[in-house]
């Protein structure tokens, strides 16, 4: 009798366990829904730089024909026949591309590709632009006046993106600056702060030395910034040549300084005008992940330019190594003085020489072959990349110039 009941209890228990088990099994994996181009492959001897695949949606056309695309920039050496290039692609596993990998196309003009996800439901349009290296031109200086901005939109908020145009053709965009504005847009989700460019850390302002100028302000991030762990309580105004690719796990890796920039001159001086007022309370993140005031410390700005060699293992500099003393790729650095970093209530001119790092020279052959890149970096809080600085620190910059030999 007792035995029987034990058995029925076991049976009941088994039934319960089996029911739980049967309904809780991990299901088979569904086909992938993503359809990214992970890499674009050309014969390596024709490339000047690693191709840059943007993940930022851009729009072309208008009205009904408007469509979203993602751009891929490829820089090839002089003399390469761009009319017959057959790039190969690696895609999200299971995804397909049209035209297919290895199909020869004429890249005199940008070429469109459409990818389809493994489950067949999702598509992405990519536009591949091949830029041919132009022979270096003689020039004395390169000027940046911050007169041109376009607005980009993220999460219904608009921010400024600075770009430079050709001196002879104002329609021709020669270079686009980048900043952490798109990352700041993230932090603003749920914020009551409006969505106009001047609430962002980096934007165009009036009253420059000549025309307009760039204004960089260290901002408190929105609710999202503080909900992250570790917290990202502030965003320093920053502006640099290169690309910003948000990396939440390691924010200093988000700034790709000099990526996509080809520099073929010997830089001598870095000059320009700035105006800087540090914010009132310098704060930093303490060991308990709290953002607290650091008594006795005043915020500083920074403005510098770095000439570096592009190698396969270091295709660009980032926040962790852009000024590192032991970075073997850095050739020369020009930075404002420690005194100037503290600020100037009025517009002040600076002119600093590019100083070669110990044991480094500018190799004419590498200059010729396009192995060097140059980045210009500005920030309203020198330690903003470590989320230390004073909210409200304000840096204005105008009429930057790289004087070349």
């Amino acid at each position: 009798m007792v035995l029987y009941d034990k058995a029925s209890a076991v049976r009941l228990a088994l039934l319960v366990v089996l029911t739980l088990f049967a309904t809780s099994c991990i299901k088979d994996e569904e086909p992938n829904t993503e359809c990214d181009i992970l890499s674009i492959i050309f014969p390596s001897d024709i490339l000047l730089r690693q191709p840059y695949i943007s993940d930022k949606p851009e729009k072309m056309g208008s009205g009904e024909s408007e469509k979203v695309y993602y751009s891929i920039e490829v820089m090839v050496k002089a003399g390469v026949d761009v009319t017959k290039l057959a790039p190969e692609f690696t895609l999200t596993p299971g995804a397909t591309i049209s035209p297919e990998s290895g199909v020869e196309r004429d890249f005199t003009s940008p070429q469109e590709y459409v990818t389809t996800s493994q489950d067949g439901k999702w598509h992405r349009t990519y536009v591949v632009t091949v830029k041919k290296e132009e022979p270096p031109v003689e020039l004395q200086f390169i000027k940046y006046g911050f007169e041109n901005v376009k607005t980009e939109s993220k999460f219904n908020r608009q921010y400024d993106v600075f770009y430079e145009v050709d001196a002879d053709d104002s329609e021709k965009v020669t270079m686009t600056w980048d900043s952490g504005n798109s990352g700041f847009a993230w932090s603003l989700i749920g914020s009551t702060v409006g969505g106009s460019p001047d609430v962002f850390p980096t934007f165009q302002a009036d009253n420059g030395v000549v025309g307009k100028c760039a204004e960089l302000i260290t901002r408190e991030t929105g609710p999202m910034g503080s909900s992250f762990s570790p917290p990202m309580p502030i965003a320093a105004g920053n502006l640099f040549t290169g690309k910003f690719v948000l990396n939440l796990g390691n924010p200093r890796k988000s700034t790709h300084f000099g990526e996509g920039i080809l520099f073929r001159h010997v830089p001598l001086y870095f000059s320009g005008y700035f105006k800087y007022t540090p914010g009132e309370v310098y704060k930093a993140i303490n060991e308990n992940n709290q953002f607290v005031a650091v008594p006795g410390k005043t915020d500083e700005c920074n403005i510098y330019s770095v000439l570096y060699e592009v190698t396969d293992d270091m295709p660009y500099l980032d926040g962790d190594n852009v000024l590192s003393d032991d970075n073997p790729n850095i050739i020369a650095v020009a930075a404002i003085s420690a005194e100037d970093r503290k600020g100037s209530p009025q517009w002040k001119e600076f002119r600093v020489p590019f100083q070669l790092r110990a044991g480094k020279t500018i190799d004419p052959d590498k200059l010729e072959s396009g192995a060097y890149s140059l980045t210009i970096v500005m920030t309203s809080s020198k330690d903003g990349d470590y989320f230390a600085g004073a909210i409200g620190s304000c840096l204005l910059v105008d009429e930057l110039e790289i004087t070349c030999n």
Binding site: M1, V2, D5, S8, A9, L12, A13, V16, L20, T23, S24, C25, I26, K27, D28, E29, E30, N32, T33, E34, C35, D36, D55, K56, P57, S117, W122, H123, R124, F155, W186, I189, G190, S191, T192, G222, P223, M224, S227, F228, S229, P230, L246, N247, L248, G249, N250
Partner: protein, 261 residues
Amino acid sequence: MNKIKIFVISAVFCLVGLNMNGQTDGPNKVGLKGFLNGLDYEVNAGTNIGGAAPLPLPAEIREINSYSPNLNLQIGATVTKWIDAKQKWGASVGLRMETRGMETKATVKNYGMAIIQNGEELSGRWTGKVQTKYHSQQLTIPITAVFRAHPRLRINLGPYLSFAFNNDFNGYVYEGYLREGDPTGEKVSFEGESRASYDFSDSLRSFQWGMQGGVSWTAYKHLLVNANLTWGCNNIFVSSFKTVTFNLYPIYLNVGFGYLF
């Protein structure tokens, strides 16, 4: 909350008090005393092991990396009225205060989610890890039919109603990436230490109901060993809550001891 605790404790004492009366009653009484005559009183304590789980697991969940039931204590009292003279069939009503909770870490793929900050929503597809902590303090009233399968073994089955007076459901996402909007959206990587937290506590429902079934083994004269499975029949979230795209049902195994007066 304290008031509720006091209420529960007094409820338990009332039942114990009833029992005192019961013990003094002789057999074959009529009226209230007669009704009380066929009653068993039990106070019990135990622990809840289980979780709030989607059934069946959606395909987006690729792996359960870790699970901890947490220490979910439960105290309560049960009164059983035997219907027949042989005391084979009866009905039970109980009152228990209990904690239901769990902590899980799961790996998901292409999981529809939204991060909500002050009403502004960022929706997207998350691929990566999700940590979830669920903790709910509830007052539960089970009403069950009881069958004595053996002089020492009782089987019970019936519905229960729970009122949650303290609800938490929160966690964070980490080691993965979000596609903004849909699978073709911009990819935002969360690497290393980076986490984004969420808190859906306000969207948990207060009233839950479900089915309970289990066994009670009389180990010694007064000592019971209880095992009950409680299976929630409604989603732990209110129906207007759409962020978690599948329903989560509270399923708990309650194991404990009882003292039979």
